[in-house]
């Protein structure tokens, strides 16, 4: 597959905290999931790749554009759609006016063409019916979709989405997945999330971050396979399990190193993720 985003040795410190520690990655078209606990460095990595904040060290290119120069950064931004973790709005704007404002900032200057593009992304984000309603009157899920529409406007080749499904109800999340999946058909999408189901359903590839480093880089199936033979059921809490919980059926589901003769279960992506976080910090699987 053609590499569209390439980064090597990205490092960034906030005071005494090493937010990114020699992160290297290569992305191609499609949706790549970025998993990790709070404080893992996911948002920092996304902000660096979106040129919202410069790295202390390291380099990266997006679609051949190098942000180390002002010209390269501007070219990159012309190809970029960014949905931040906590998108803000001008509350008196309507979705149409807000996305139109972002479209102008993205240098879509022809008024008629720009308005067509704004209507297209509002349709894509399923906001056509509320495009004239003030943002302050919209629900949290709808506001999130306004932010997604703003990220999509201008048909960017690289889409950076920072926890776009957080706080959404199941139906809203389903709609979001539809939009993200469509976007990933012909773009490079980097999706940061805490929802392993989002990754399982949307992503052709997944990165797991912890402590500012990439701890896993592979397919969702490969991440799931890390837990093969390490998930088992028991009638009581197994003290040897790294994680275990009572299921709705009454038994316990355990993740870790099973005892001899344990009743093994089919692992999930979440099991693989938990075991990856629990593993050797120096270990990176690609």
């Amino acid at each position: 597959m053609t590499v569209t985003v390439s980064a090597s040795g990205l490092s960034l410190r906030y005071g005494g905290t090493r937010a990114l520690d020699e992160v290297s990655l290569r992305l191609s078209r499609g949706v790549t999931g970025l998993l990790g606990p709070n404080g893992a460095g996911k948002t920092t990595l996304l902000r660096v790749l979106a040129t919202a904040v410069p790295a202390d060290r390291g380099a990266f290119t997006v679609l051949g554009h190098d942000p180390a120069t002002a010209r390269g950064r501007q070219e990159l931004r012309r190809e970029l759609g960014y949905l931040p973790q906590t998108p803000g709005f001008h509350p008196d704007f309507t979705p149409f006016a807000f996305v139109d404002y972002v479209a102008i900032l993205k240098e879509l200057t022809d008024r008629a063409a720009r308005h067509r593009e704004v209507r297209r992304v509002l349709d894509e984000a399923d906001l056509a019916e509320v495009r004239g309603t003030r943002i302050k009157k919209l629900s949290g899920g709808m506001r999130q979709r306004v932010a997604l529409a703003a990220a999509l406007v201008g048909d960017p080749g690289f889409l950076v989405l920072d926890e776009p499904t957080v706080g959404l109800d199941p139906e809203q999340r389903m709609r979001f997945r539809e939009v993200i999946a469509r976007a990933g058909e012909d773009r490079t999408v980097l999706l940061s999330t805490h929802q392993t189901e989002d990754v399982a359903m949307l992503c052709h590839r997944v990165l797991v971050m912890a402590g500012g480093r990439i701890r896993f880089d592979g397919t969702p199936a490969e991440l799931t396979a890390r837990a093969a033979g390490r998930v088992w059921s028991s009638t009581g809490r197994d003290p040897g399990a790294k994680a275990g919980w009572r299921t709705g059926a009454g038994g316990f589901r355990n993740v870790g190193d099973p005892p001899e003769g344990a009743d093994l279960l089919e692992p999930t992506l979440e099991d693989g993720y938990l075991l990856t976080l629990d593993g050797d910090p120096a270990e990176v699987t690609a």
């Binding site: 906030y14 904040v53 410069p54 942000p67 501007q74 998108p87 001008h90 139109d100 404002y101 102008i104």
Partner: protein, 214 residues
């Protein structure tokens, strides 16, 4: 593109804050016309300085932008967007200041050019503080720290500045002309700092800049 941006950027300006500060400034200047007030030049100058401070505190909020997180990474640079904000508000601020001057009875009005230089410098300092705050933080609302810095500076400067560097003199004071030379230097300094801080945000204070994109 800039003409297309003018209308939406106009709508994003913090008009309520600017309006409140402007109203406070006009009320302050208008105190000299209150019935029973015995206006004199010294009082008029103090009231105009108060009005200028109110206006400057309002302008400290000019760069507040709740949508900042999502619009930091657009190709239209921050320098152009900041310049547009300043350009849009400048005529309004000029009219407002003219009104404040006219509220003071002509017989007691201090020299308009000198006091306008003071007001312009206060506003430039406020804008420079906001620009520095935007460059060195991720805060979408840098107005509060910028306004605090301006207010503290305005309160401390008359107390702490030695006599030979005095800024807040009266027209009858022999240091008046020299003080306004210093105001002019301050204005130049504020503009320089403001312009120098128009680059892309660094994210947080005291970042090493050796590897920053140019």
């Amino acid at each position: 593109m800039i003409p297309a941006l003018a209308v939406p950027v106009w709508r994003t300006l913090p008009w309520r804050t600017l309006g409140a500060a402007g109203a406070a400034g006009l009320l302050t200047a208008g105190l000299s016309r209150l019935p029973g007030t015995e206006p004199d030049s010294r009082l008029a100058l103090g009231l105009l300085r108060g009005a200028a401070l109110a206006g400057a505190l309002g302008l400290a909020f000019l760069l507040d932008d709740p949508a900042r997180d999502g619009t930091t990474t657009v190709p239209t640079g921050r320098a152009a967007r900041t310049a547009l904000r300043v350009a849009l508000v400048a005529p309004v601020a000029a009219l407002w200041w003219a009104a404040a001057l006219l509220l003071v009875p002509g017989a007691h009005r201090p020299p308009a050019g000198a006091v306008t230089l003071e007001a312009g410098t206060a506003c430039a300092l406020a804008l420079a503080a906001a620009t520095v705050a935007v460059r060195h933080s991720d805060d979408p609302r840098p107005g509060r720290p910028a306004a605090t810095a301006v207010l503290v500076t305005a309160l401390l400067a008359p107390l702490l500045l030695p006599s030979r560097w005095a800024l807040f003199t009266g027209p009858e004071d022999p240091r008046w002309a020299a003080a306004h030379d210093r105001w002019a230097w301050l204005l130049a300094g504020a503009v320089t700092v403001g312009v120098a801080s128009l680059g892309e945000p660094l994210g947080h204070p005291f970042r090493r800049t050796a590897d920053q994109p140019t």
